[in-house]
Symmetry: C2
């Protein structure tokens, strides 16, 4: 588990822009669980953070100075130079101009961005969930999980969420879930057995551990598991004990890991469908908003203690 | 772990045949690990054995009396009324007349039957293994594993087997495996790391446990695991601890359980390709043959102590 001592807030002088660069003032910064993996010095799907160098991550910012004809002052960009108040966007920075769809700026950091897209592609493409399926989703009050719940209901599925505590569960049910189990209130497998007496067709995994094992226990024939995150393993790196993994064979379970960027080519179709849902109020988000760059580390560490309902953001 | 006391050899009187039935004298009986699952009173892909009723399983027999126009005396049948010396084949018994391909009778109980088909469909259809892939297969000296090794080599893959002991490993290499690790001689992960320094694309799992975890540790991007058996779990029913399961996400591992009969519709294509290989001597089998119905239980229990190289059979 990282602590505040692993981080340092540093003031750097403004460098003049080179040809092709633009300067943005960041408005919204994202903290996401995958960033924990980038604190380990291992090869993974995104390179590790470097000690002493600025961290980065998703952000929405407004162009305040530009030597790039593609970006005018006042344009808003979704980009990867987060974890700072001002950023220089060069050719090497992942950045896109935000289309004027009428959604709030920060939606590009949740339902229209990383977390909404992860939910959408994981549920519909990786797990191939379809109308009539019984879907179980862990961390259902989180940013990804809450989007999974809503997309699954819009597509005609039965949805059972899991969340920690009565308040989070109440919200998951408000989002449309047919049931929500409170993993802090009792055994996950017992509760899931009661909520899904005929078993589950799809499991959307955000946590690993006891939830994953319960899904193995209750998987129906040809069940599909989309493995998105195992947040309970990110800090301890420890082993996972599964009692029901052996059901993989008789139930012909398919378990598949994925990340959001596997589906870059399908992004336009996702943005189109999701923007329609967001504008119609059919997919909503709760955000836990921290204020100011000083609060960035608190926001990040809060991801691992269950401090957030919905998407954790920092507003500058 | 079952013992000899769980079994009883019983003489039953010959019943006269009804219209549509045929009587066969069995020549070869099969014992297979999946039968252990049928000794538990749980719902699975094949119904449990009933206490006091005859067990059944794969067998090849010769028709000695017939009231079914489809079967003439002298025909040989592959059927599911095994675990006995004579059987009555009715409409409810899975049975097929053996085509005259020139292969030995018992081949229909291994390379042209359950074990060869499991290898073929698991490797090529479930894991979608293709030329150039690095394939890891556990229990590579077993009936299924040895077929996996040979099919993978015929299809242009690199193959690393695992087996228990130097003699079995030598045979696995004779079958064409590029390497074979001896799981009794050291740590599986260490040995697999040395044999596959760049990782693996496919894992064909016959055992679960330490082998499965090593496969998670060394899986390359988009690796596929075909989960065929977890023989080390069949008797203890115990939990499996995996240290590297979390690599499912960054490596986008796909793990899929399956059984042979999922591919019934593709059986003719399999028999055609496999019969060609068997007749050309390109896919061979070792068999461990027990003699006589009295030895059936010993043969079956031997499956769980590693007593067999290749396919375990009983000849009557």
């Amino acid at each position: 588990m990282p602590t505040i001592d692993n981080f340092e807030l540093k003031a750097l002088p403004d460098a003049p822009l080179a040809e092709g660069q633009a300067r943005v003032r960041n408005l919204w910064l994202s903290v996401d669980p995958y960033m924990r993996g980038r604190m380990n010095d291992v090869k993974s799907y995104v390179p590790p953070f470097q000690i002493g160098a600025p961290m980065d991550g998703g952000a929405v910012g407004e162009v305040i100075e530009s030597r790039n004809p593609a970006y005018a002052v006042g344009n808003k960009l979704l980009h990867m130079a987060g974890w700072r108040d001002e950023a220089v966007i060069g050719a090497e920075t992942m950045a896109q101009k935000l289309p004027a769809l009428g959604v709030p700026d920060e939606a590009w950091l949740h339902n229209l961005g990383l977390t909404g897209g992860t939910a959408y592609f994981g549920l519909l493409r990786v797990a191939e969930a379809k109308a009539g399926d019984v879907v179980f989703v862990s961390a259902a009050a989180g940013a990804v999980g809450s989007a999974v719940v809503q997309i699954a209901k819009l597509k005609g599925m039965t949805v059972i969420g899991s969340a920690g505590g009565a308040a989070k569960c109440a919200w998951v049910r408000e989002l449309g879930a047919d049931a929500c189990i409170d993993y802090k209130a009792g055994d996950v497998l017992d509760q899931l057995t009661a909520a899904a007496p005929k078993g589950i067709d799809v499991y959307f995994d955000n946590v690993g551990g006891e939830h994953l094992d319960a899904a193995f226990a209750l998987a129906r024939q040809n069940a599909r598991f989309a493995i998105c995150g195992m947040i309970d393993r990110y800090n301890d790196g420890g082993a996972l004990t599964l009692k029901y993994l052996i059901r993989t064979i008789p139930a012909r379970i398919r378990m598949q890991g994925f990340i959001y960027t596997d589906f870059l080519s399908e992004m336009p179709a996702f943005v189109q469908e999701m923007a329609g849902w967001v504008l119609a109020g059919k997919v909503t988000a709760r955000t836990t908003v921290h204020d100011g760059l000083d609060s960035m580390v608190d926001a990040f560490l809060g991801l691992f203690s269950g401090a957030n309902t919905g998407k954790m953001l920092v507003k500058l």
